[in-house]
């Protein structure tokens, strides 16, 4: 077992720990934080199922974004849908035997690799071309796009420029899962791809990628409009009732 294989194995255990621990902590803290009053963005659904559906439409269709900016919606939807397809297609590296539907979507995964790059390219171009986006873009906004594009391009590089031994890669991946470490091929595209993926996993809980849990916890979208019927209150403001004159 080479030093490199051990280093990457440890890198991925570390990255996974940061991702799961960091994201888990964030989700727990969002969940635990008080919601002292109704601050839904109206018109809001009157039922819990209606509010859940509203959040689902935001997650799946980017509904609000569709109404606000068609370009961001097109590029954003293209990127996110492609990323989802690519991630699902990558399940083949972690399953043996590979699940039937994962086999079926492999061709989609290939196209999605290009969709991902196209979507990122569009989103990134906006940050240069469009005056308002240029103004609000910080260094981390560009770096995040660079990170994602780097992952995608390195992945496509393995497919179309310099192949790697994907059987060995799969053995490495399964080895990580089953604690039976296997050697990792040392092709540059592969090492770049994996390094950037590990970086992404590590920065996710500390970056604007917190929009992933955030979209589920936004009171504007997730609250039910039952303000009249249900007294929304948290412990800290319920305690203030005692100070009221009546």
């Amino acid at each position: 077992m080479s030093f490199l294989s051990v280093a990457y194995a440890l890198l991925f255990y570390g990255a996974a720990a940061v991702l799961i621990g960091g994201l888990g902590f964030k989700i727990w803290s969002y969940f635990a934080l008080p919601v002292p009053m109704k601050v839904f963005t109206a018109p809001a659904p009157r039922t819990r199922s209606g509010a859940a559906l509203r959040v689902a439409r935001e997650v799946v269709f980017f509904e609000s974004l569709f109404h606000s900016n068609k370009w961001i919606w097109i590029f954003g939807a293209l990127f996110h849908a492609s990323l989802a397809a690519v991630l699902l297609a990558h399940l083949r590296y972690f399953t043996e035997p590979v699940w039937g539907w994962v086999v079926l979507i492999q061709p989609i995964g290939t196209y999605a690799g290009f969709g991902l790059i196209a979507g990122l390219g569009g989103l990134w171009a906006r940050r240069f071309v469009e005056e308002r986006s240029r103004y609000i873009s910080g260094l981390s906004d560009h770096l995040m796009l660079a990170l994602l594009a780097g992952i995608g391009l390195a992945g496509l590089g393995m497919k179309y420029v310099a192949h790697t031994d994907i059987v060995a890669v799969k053995a490495f991946a399964l080895g990580l899962v089953y604690l039976d470490w296997q050697p990792l091929p040392t092709d540059p595209f592969l090492l770049l791809h994996l390094t950037l993926v590990a970086m992404l996993m590590i920065v996710l809980p500390f970056s604007k990628l917190l929009h992933i849990p955030g979209v589920f916890f936004s009171p504007a979208h997730s609250q039910v409009d039952d303000a009249r019927e249900h007294r929304q209150i948290a412990a800290w403001n319920a305690a203030l009732d005692a100070t009221r004159e009546r």
Binding site: P43, G138, L143, K208, I233, E245
Partner: protein, 498 residues
């Protein structure tokens, strides 16, 4: 400089998204609250010595009290969907009036003091220390936000700049940097029960005068009772309704509706204000104290039902926040277990055939309706989503034969703020108010040119004051603005039903 401050945007045939004009409104700063005023509200009189530590501590406290604030500060991806949605940006081009940039003034500080990334790599993630310059930017730009929540509607995560500007104002108040206008209003309301500082005797005098006016006009003795114990209904209305034009014509409209319905109702001199500026400064304490006045008045007078007059943010508080701050309202009539909007009451009555209305009385008008931001995006009406859009329109269409809507991107939930809400309705912010009114004026001008609109109705005292105050600068007639119940007032046939 004075000339520059009062530049009025030119209305074209459409609303262009402006190019960035850096610092276009940076010089427009609302007057600070004086030390005595700050202290009277329980805030430090002037900037405290250890303001950085105090401000960070207060922000930390708010982050522990509101899930919304924490999620909204974390989740923004800087996509820019909100950037061209704020009327203050559209009217001025000042990039710090783009919602994302306005939020970032606080988000940068949040990152610096409350996130690992901001502590480890501040330059990378745009984390900044809370400097004196940053405080000044907070003060300027968080008092150029009307908390209308239009940005929240268009944000993929619903990020609500109102929540962030309220938090910033709460922090500023707690280190001694309050705003004169809002804090004066809050103090007046604590002391006298209304934002205008009318004492009970003056209030009684005013409404007696109105009763006489109605008698002179119609020959019908319509009453506006004050502090009548045992009345069925308490009307809580913005105090501007008592004498500002065109608000007062709306109040007369409510009184005539109640008269024709034979309703037993009363005003309260203790709670003679529906508005609640405590919300504007993000102070739960002040918002609650003001809201509890309504509860106390209702209990003291023994009313069974509460009706709220035409006021935008008052309706947000009454609909969305009254149950929280001053509920439960279980002492009210189970048939009307929570405060109702005057429009809900009137529309219900119209549907039951309880009003005799002659729409031809408004035949001299072609009317459009300005959805006020708080009823549109922060409340509801009629028990179903969107009732706040339909019910006022239904009433107008009943009392006016000619009604047209403005451009669909400027009404209902997409409505623009009038430019004067959220604590901006003060003279020194005039350049901000002029800029913020531009999108609405654009849409109004379009229906005036194309559909012959002569009047714009509103259900918010601040909208009405802002429009009548600023429209002349756009070369428009301030008397175009009418209270919704002013139209009802015109159409109602007194003496035919009651």
């Amino acid at each position: 400089m004075a000339q520059k401050e009062y530049d009025v945007p030119v209305l074209e045939d459409h609303l262009p998204t402006p190019h960035l004009q850096r610092d276009a409104l940076a010089h427009v700063r609302s007057h600070p609250a004086k030390p005595e005023l700050q202290k009277a509200l329980g805030f430090p009189g002037e900037l405290v010595e250890d303001w950085e530590a105090k401000a960070v501590a207060k922000l930390g406290e708010l982050l522990q009290k509101h899930r919304s604030l924490r999620v909204y500060l974390d989740a923004c991806v800087k996509c820019g969907a909100c950037a061209d949605k704020c009327q203050f940006f559209l009217g001025s081009g000042d990039p710090k009036n783009m919602p994302v940039a306005r939020q970032d003034l606080l988000r940068q500080v949040y990152r610096k003091y409350f996130t690992a990334a901001g502590k480890i790599a501040p330059d990378l993630v745009g984390a900044k220390p809370l400097t004196r310059e940053m405080l000044d930017e907070w003060y300027v730009y968080y008092h150029q936000c009307s908390q209308c929540r239009r940005c929240s509607l268009f944000c993929p995560y619903g990020i609500d700049t109102a929540e962030i500007s309220m938090a910033a104002r709460e922090v500023l108040d707690h280190i001694g940097m309050g705003q004169k206008y809002t804090n004066e209003v809050i103090l007046k309301c604590h002391q006298l029960g209304n934002n205008l500082g009318l004492n009970p005797a003056a209030l009684r005098n005013t409404v007696e005068g109105l009763e006489e006016d109605i008698m002179d006009d119609t020959g019908v003795p319509v009453r506006l009772p004050v502090d009548e114990v045992g009345a069925d209904v308490l009307l809580v209305t913005p105090s501007a309704d008592f004498f500002a034009e065109p608000q007062v014509d709306g109040l007369i409209g409510y009184a005539k509706v109640f008269h024709q319905a034979g309703l037993s109702w009363t005003l309260s001199s203790y709670a003679s204000e529906a508005g609640n500026f405590g919300m504007f400064i993000g102070s739960y304490d002040h918002m609650q104290k003001l809201a509890v006045r309504i509860r106390k008045a209702a209990l003291d007078l023994g009313v069974k039902r509460i009706i709220v007059g035409e006021c935008g943010h008052a309706w947000r508080v009454a609909y969305s926040l009254l149950n929280t701050t001053s509920g439960p309202w279980d002492f009210l009539d189970p048939k009307y277990p929570h405060p109702q909007h005057i429009c809900e009451y009137t529309w219900d009555l119209i549907q039951k055939g309880g009003l005799n209305l002659d729409a031809t009385a408004n035949d001299d008008k072609v009317v459009t309706f300005h959805d006020s931001c708080n009823p549109a995006r922060a409340a509801g009406m009629g028990g179903y989503p969107g009732g706040q859009f339909d019910i006022p329109r239904n009433i107008i269409k009943t009392v006016c034969n000619k009604f047209v809507d403005m451009h669909p991107d400027t009404i209902r939930e997409k409505t623009f703020c009038c430019g004067g809400g959220g604590g901006l309705l003060t003279e020194e912010l005039m350049p901000v108010r002029i800029a913020g009114m531009k999108p609405r004026m654009q849409a109004l001008k379009q229906v005036m040119d194309e559909k012959g609109v002569t009047h714009m109705a509103a259900i918010c005292a601040i909208c009405k004051s802002q429009f009548t105050g600023v429209m002349p600068r756009y070369g428009m007639d301030p008397y175009m603005i009418v209270s919704l119940h002013q139209l009802v007032n015109n159409a109602i046939q007194l003496g035919t039903k009651e």
